[in-house]
Each structure stands twice: as structure tokens, then as C-alpha cells.
Symmetry: D3
């Protein structure tokens, strides 16, 4: 079989050359502007296995905050290897009493996998305002459809840990309280569009650093 | 030219037959189960021009309600002709003082076209909780990106009318107050996930018919 | 509640930073090359509410022309805020006797909303060459499936106004007469591929400024 | 190695069962209604290799007709194996002087591969009415972007044969002359929307069997 | 505020009715035929929170088999709630020495999250046959681009556990050895298309229960 | 009709200007970085009909190699006109005894059209490891679903020629033997993940130039 090795070698080389631009993956070049489908791809010469591995979810997030919880994302901005591949991930840490407040992901559905602890999780349908919520234990998974309001609460006696994945490299995260109370949206606009009392709005603006 | 007419005729007929199943459109058969991409298509023999025309947006919605406003949808459920075509529409009527409360469309971006009156409209980004809002006049259009919280308020002295279109036949509509206060989501879950005071939650549950 | 404000503040800031690149929207940077999915996004720092509002549809188009009609587009080139969001818009003005000639949008379906006047509109299916047309009045909407030949004619006694939206930021517009008669496509190629008489072709080339 | 065979066997069987519903392909069940994404899938038990092979393009189409040409499609209606796979095919036969008249595919881009003969092919852009056309020889391929008017003419001295493929299982085919002249679209609507003379319209309606 | 409660109530009810068909989610009705985009949706009345929760990943898979490993899927067939939502999940259990053999997912990219143990994982690019592999520890994640050959090996001293998610409700799984050696693909075809020796092929066919 | 020509001319010009950026096509600018959806578009001024025509498939590939076969691609890297259009092509030449070895296209389905000769072609499903293969003759077409292992063998007495098209401008090509034996993937990893004997692996690594 030795004799046709040279011929084959030529064959291999020519293939390597011809297909050099085939796009198996598209590691994000974060130094360039992104577009509607994601970031431009890094050249393959600048890609290594470390482009596809992310260790940032290995460390617990800091839960010493008002919500006693932390979301550590591995979206395209943190993990450029997911660019263009329709998926990303995050880690949720919830201390005792911790809560991931009511929020939406405008651009993705989410699967939650409980690694440790007990979490009460739910979402609200838009069709009929039906609330779907349940207490989840270690090993349970739950799906949250794209764009719907949902929440996770540590309902156990110890801390809880979950791994989440999203159907987009860039799912977005709109936390209701931040959207309403942590910016300069005038109190009058908040009350008019939510029917909340002005005192309630001003109180939460105070807590969350909002103005107006 | 008369002489090759018979030959051509055969040609035409055979084409009609061959392409009878080409899918130019897919008028929804609402009697069947929908799927992730929409409803099964009606047979072409059951389709007429009226499948593609909808007159339900020609009548003003009833604004004699708490929000002094009405949304009249022409989504796939009302207007089966849009099934599978990536677009739908609605009409907004806002009486003096009327407001379309804070809401999201989980499945579509929206363009608002002001036909009459003056509307203050805005949305909140998830990236940095930035509020983008402006007073719009007749002829102005505004785009609301998919899944983000947004609102419209009649900020003029007369009634306002707008036409909206969506980038999906089935955009969804999640009105924040309905999601939080018009169902059986327990008050404790609302307060825990939104930091609203229980009294505020109970008050709005009372108004909106929610329980729990 | 004041006491945990500092902690929360840190929380907020870190979120702002972490999610700074989340893509809620992608306002087109028209100075850069577009790609198959649209234009690269402007940096958020260069985006304001005016990126999402367009007033160009507020002014009637000039109908003093051969078709007594005007199409005023708000596609991505005019309205960069729609980039990547799957939707765009336009305004149609039709003077008495005005007509939007037979045309297609290669990249989008269209919804027409009649604001004023009476319009006879229709499209032709490819499956069986069936013509679907109807006289539309104020408030009616009609859907035109992607890529099919369609037209709009002012069939009333006064001027007509319509708002249209498309299922793409960049729907394209191929006007049949322009495609056949307003360029340098040789007359012989036109007659061969359309069976029109050469005299007819040359006459319309004359009117529309075509050559060949 | 014999000893662990039983264990492995169990492993295999359980995999076969678990993944029985994985959708590698979705051969169209043409007896059911299609939807926006195509036809429901046949059960795998009803699928054989013949579901993925089509011999209908092996026979020359009948070119004894007015256009001296024939299009033999292998779209989903003829070749159910392409359902859901984003591709389909057809065969073009052009006798001496044959022409595939000006047409569009509303739902797909097309690649033309010349197997035999010489074909003058072209398309017209919508952006600027630019005509792109060229004489193609054996082995040449040409791409026609989705939804744009295009044509193919046998410009050689012998018959021509081409294979075409499309970026959709259901590309559609709207032949301009059939759309305008082979149905009951009233002559007045044709003249108004195309600026063609009534005499020209009536003449072609006569040839193509149109009425009105 | 009590006085306008009745009016509001009507408003709520009419919304519930109008939007009853809005598609927030599409829980698979597995009793019906699937299509290219997934299964038809169950009626909302048949949906409960249990449609969105799956506990099957909470139990370790049986690793008493030749590969000392198990894949427990939560694809649409096992977890109907993910239908149409662009995501699914699975659990990997690897005993000491366990291996998930070389395989592809024809329809999805994959993220692997190491919960316990040490896993050597890698994939091979098609562009230049480059191998990207690395030893992953607890908390690491790795992305495997769609359709590329990849593998996971327990390279630690204890058992390993990982959670994986996919960018499709139906990612597919083609295990190389099963495809080549566990069916009736004739040995001659295997040797011709893989250059493996016939003796090697026959040996593995023997182990895996293949014939031919 | 001459008299309104000037007015029309203005109309034409203004349209040309307004729609100059409409994206009918997006010829790849290969000098720029690609992204998840393809390459940035060349400016229209740099596009000619030659951007849409490719002659590289007109010449037989060199089959003087170990597989007695050649694949000549017209993917986006060779044929920039297909960028963003969802389709590409290639030519297969198989000398007597030639074979396109077991491979996958991670990003596209494929249609094979037999122009000359006799080819035995097949693919293996992932769902149940079912092999679908058949001997194809001139004029037959076969569809290979995305991402599945497949092969083509010249099973006739003369050379064979086929034209293939893909449902992506960038289908990718992962040849099994190259992936396993033509790179630096350590022999031990190959044997562990494929159950092949080390001798077999080393033998093929020798032939294909692999190391490790």
C-alpha cells in the first residue's frame, strides 16, 4: 500500500486547500461589529480548542446581593465559540432565600437543569395569562418558552445550583424590575403603563437606583 | 398564430397539473391543529380572494374600558391568509387618555404607524435598561424590537388611531399587568419575584380579577 | 431598605457590564457592507430613539408622474432601525387614476392597509395562474404572498392612501415594466421570452427610457 | 470479545427504541395537508430507498410545443423525499429555438447546470433593473437569485439539456405570460398595470387561452 | 377604583378569547405525524406545568454495557414540551473507563457541561481535519458545532456526569460504529468506502450484531 | 405618449436611487471576514454577470488518485455568487472503480444527478441505523439528508459523472477517513472512540499521512 501514498498525499493537500474556507464554526471576532446573525468569524488560524471551551461557569457567582442570587452567563460575549451555533449557557446560583426575579429572554427559549437544591420555577403564558409553576428537584429540567415572563426561587433549605441553556448565542435578559425601576423612565410613564401607584414606583426606583 | 394554439393548450394544462401543489400561500385551516410553523393549509379549491382580505380592522375598537384603548388583532386566528407568510397586523384605538399598557410580543417585532392623533410610545432595552421613547405624530412610524417591553399612550387632546404590523402571523401579546395580576399567581410569588409590596399586588389583583 | 442599596448597586452595574453586548436590536450601520442577514450593527452608544422612529412616511409622495402614484419606502436603507428585525414599511399614494403597476417583492410578503379611498388590488398565483383581486375600502387589509405578481389601482373618485408593511427589512421591488422596458435588455430577448410583439416592446422602451 | 456481546446487544436495542423518532428526514405524506414548512412525514416503516430516488428526470420532456421546451420538475409533489430538506431539482429540455420564457420562482434561488448545448440565460435585478445575461456552454453553471425575473434560451444549433436545482423543496414557478394572459384577468386590468396595448393583450390571451 | 371593575372584566375576558390561539408554545402531540418543523401542538386545555417539566434526567443511566456509558435523552420524543422551541437536552453518565464513541448530531450543535468528574472531549473540523480536544473538569463547558464528529471519554479515576443541551428539539444521533457495523450494510461496501480491512469490519459487525 | 416621458424619467431615476441598496443578491466579498450567515456583499458596481456564472465544473477532476475519484466544488469560496442564496453545487468524477468515501456534509442536504455511468449510492439513517442504498443510472437523482453518512461508488464498467447540489452555499465536507486517520488525533483516542484495532488505525494513518 506504500506505493500510492504520494498520490494520496497530493489528494489530501488539495482537499485541505480547496475546503479551507468551509464554515464548520464561526468563533466570534468580538473586535468587529456584530450583525443580525452574530459576529464575524475569527480566522481558523486564530482558533484553538480553547475557543470552544469556557471555564467561567465553574465558579459560583456572588450571591451577596439583594436577590441572594447570581446569573453567570456564557453568551457569545463571554464565550465566542457559540457564535452562529444557535445555543448558549449560563449558571444560576441561589443562596438560601435567593430569587431570580421575574424576567424574559427576548431572543431564546431556556432549559433549566437543577444540579443541587430545590427551585420553584414558573412562567406565564401570554395566550391566557395561565401560570405554569412547579417545585423542581435535583435532576429535573424545565423549559421556558421564548419571550415569556418567568422566575426561579430557591424554595429549599440550602443553596441551589442550576445550569441553563438557551436556544440562541445571544438570548438577552430583560429583568422586569430593572426595566421599570432602574433607569430614567419617568414615574408618570411607569404608573400610566403599569397601574402601579406612584409611591410604589418611587420606592423601588429608590432601591434600584432609578431616576425620574 | 392560430395553428399552434392546440399544442400550447396541452402545454398549459400539463403545467396546471404539474404545479397544482406549489405552495404560493398557505391559508390556515383553523379546524386542524397548528404546529411550530403554523396551521396546515386549506386546499386551494377552498381559497378565494376573501381568504386574503380582512375587513375587521375597519371598525374602531371599543375604548369604553379601563385603559380607554382597544387592540383589534388581525393575527392568523382572525385572518387565516397570513399563515406561514411571516407577517400580521392590528389596529390600535386610543380614546383621550387611552393607553396600551406595558407589554411584550414574545414572537415578533412591531412597526407602529400613526394614522391620527399623537402617541407617546417607547420601549426598554434589555442590554442596558435604556428607555427609548418619543412623541409620535400622524405619519410617523416606530419600530419595537422583538420581545422587549413597550407601551403606547395617547398624549394628544383627541383620540388617536394607529395601524401596527408584526413580523410573524402569530406575534403573541403579554400584557404585564394581566400576567402579574389577572390570574391565580399567588401574591407571595408576585412580591418575591417583583419586589412589589403585597398591598400593591392585592390592590391590582382586585382591579384585574386576579386571585391568590 | 436603604441599607442594602450599595450591594444592589454593585449588582446592577455588573449586570450592565455583563450584558452590554446583548443584541436587542441591530440598527444598521449603512456605512459598512451588508451581508446576507443585513447590515452590521451600530454601536449602542450611537443609537438614540430617533434610530427607531422614521417620519418620512408622513409626507405624501409626488404623484405627478405617468403612474399618478408614488411608493415611499421605509426599508432598511431609509430606516436603519428595522435592520435584522424581519419587517419594514412603505406608504402608497395614488392620485385619481393612479396605479402601482404589476410588480413583485422577491424577498417578502406584504400587508396593505387602506387609510383613505378605494383601491382595486390583486395578485396572481403561480400554482394555477389564478387571479385573486378585489376592491378594497378604508380599513380593509389585504395580504400579498412573497414573490407573486401583484398590483394596486385607485378605483375610486378621489385620491387613495395606503400603508404597507413587509415581512423583511429589505423586501425588494421588481416592477415588471421597468424590468422589461427600462434597461438595455435587447428587444429580441424581450420578444423571445415574453412573446410580446417587437413594436410593443419598442414603444414601451421609448416611454420608459430603455435601449436595445 | 464474545462475552460482552449480550450486554452490547441490549445497549443497541435500547438505542434503536429511544431514537426511533429522531427526524433524519421527513418523506412527504402527500395524502395529508401541507403546512408552511411542508408536508407531514411518512412513518419510517413506509420509507424505503425508493423514497429518496427519483427517475423522472431521466426522460426528455416533450418539446413539441410553442416554446419548444419543457420543464420536468422534481419538486416535493413529484419527489416526496425532498420534503423539509431545503432543496429540489428539475430538468430543462430545449429543442432548437426553444425558450423557457421569462419567469420567477417566488420561493427559491436556482442553479442551472448545462449538460448539453448552448444556452443564453439571464436575470434582471430589482435594485437597478440591471440585466445580467450570458451565453453558457456545457459545464457552466449560473445562479439565479430568488424571486427575480429570468429566462433561458437555446442559442445553439442543436438541442440543449440542463439540470437545475432549487434552494427549496417547493420553489414555485410563475411564468410571466401565463400570469398575464392565460387566465381570466380582465384585459383592462392587464393594460392598466402593464401599459401594454389592449390589442397586444388580447392577441396573447387568444394564443394562451386566457379570457376577459 | 372599584367602580370600573366590571368594565375591565369584560376587557379581560375578550382578550382571553381573542388571543386563545396565540402560540406561546407548542407541546408536541406525539400521537400525530410530525412534519419538517416538528409535531402538531396539543390543545392548551391538555397542557399543564408537567408538559414543561421532565424528570427523566434525574436518574443515572445504566452504564453496565460495552461502552461503560449511557446517554439519556430529553428530546422531543421524551420531552414533548420542547417541540418547536429550538432546544433539547440529555444526560451523560460515564463509569470509570466509559466512553461516548465517535458520533455526530446531524441537526444540532451541542453544549456539554461537566457536573462531576473529568472528561476528555473533542471534535474534528471538516475544513482541515483539525482535531480540537481537551480534558474538561467540573464546571467546564464545551461547544460541539453541528454535524461534526465528536467524542467524550471519562479520563478520570471516578465516574463522570455531564449535562448536555442541543440547539434543536430533535438533534439526531449517528454513532459511527453503529452506522458502519450494526446493520446490514454489506462488508464490501464498508471496506470500499472506509478503506478498513474486511477482517476488521467483520470483527466489529460480530460484536455489534451487524450482518452482511 | 411622448409628452410625459420627462416626468416618467424623473420617476425612474428616483426609483433607481431609492432602491439602490435593495439586496437582490449578495455576491461574496471573499476579502472580508465571513459571519454566521455568509460573507459581506460586494458593492453592486463590482458585480457583473460573471459573478453569477462559474465554469470550473466544466473540466473533469483529476481521478488519478487513491480513490479514483474527484470532487470539484462550486461552494461560496469558489463561486461567490451563491453567497446568501441557500444553494451551491459540485461535480463528481469517478473513474472505473472510483469511490467517494463515506462522508457527511454537516451543513446541507444534497441532490445527486447522474449524468453518465452507473453509481451505487447510499446513506445511513441515525434513527435506526438503516442503510438506504441503490444503483443509480443516467438521469436518476437521489437525495441525501443533511449530516448523515453517505457514499458514492462507480459500480459500472466505464467512468461516471454526476452533478450535485447542496442546500447551502457552504455545505462542508467531512470525509470519515480523513477525520480519523489524516491528522494528529492520537491512535489511542481513535481506538477508544471507534473500537477499531490499533493496527488498523496505524495502517490507515500510514496511508493517509496521519500522525499520533
Amino acid at each position: 500500500m506504500k506505493m500510492f501514498l504520494p498520490i494520496l498525499f497530493i489528494f489530501c493537500l488539495s482537499f485541505s486547500a480547496s475546503y479551507a474556507s468551509v464554515q464548520d464554526f464561526c468563533v466570534a471576532d468580538l473586535s468587529m461589529s456584530d450583525g443580525p446573525a452574530g459576529y464575524p468569524c475569527k480566522k481558523v488560524s486564530g482558533v484553538s480548542v480553547d475557543s470552544f471551551v469556557y471555564s467561567g461557569l465553574g465558579t459560583a457567582g456572588n450571591t451577596t446581593n439583594i436577590i441572594k442570587a447570581a446569573v453567570t452567563p456564557a453568551f457569545v460575549a463571554q464565550f465566542p465559540g457559540v457564535n452562529g451555533l444557535g445555543i448558549s449557557a449560563a449558571r444560576l446560583d441561589l443562596a438560601v432565600g435567593g430569587v431570580i426575579p421575574m424576567h424574559t429572554h427576548p431572543g431564546a427559549s431556556e432549559i433549566l437543569f437543577i444540579i443541587e437544591g430545590t427551585i420553584c420555577a414558573g412562567f406565564i403564558s401570554s395566550s391566557a395569562n395561565i401560570v405554569y409553576f412547579k417545585t423542581l428537584n435535583k435532576g429535573d429540567i424545565m423549559i421556558f418558552p421564548q419571550g415569556l415572563l418567568h422566575f426561579q426561587i430557591n424554595s429549599g433549605k440550602g443553596s441551589a445550583l442550576a445550569f441553563v441553556s438557551f436556544s440562541s448565542p445571544n438570548p438577552g435578559l430583560q429583568i422586569l424590575d430593572f426595566a421599570l425601576f432602574a433607569n430614567n423612565l419617568p414615574t408618570e410613564l411607569v404608573t400610566t403603563t403599569t397601574f402601579l401607584d406612584a409611591a410604589q414606583v418611587k420606592k423601588l426606583k429608590g432601591v434600584l437606583g432609578g431616576t425620574g
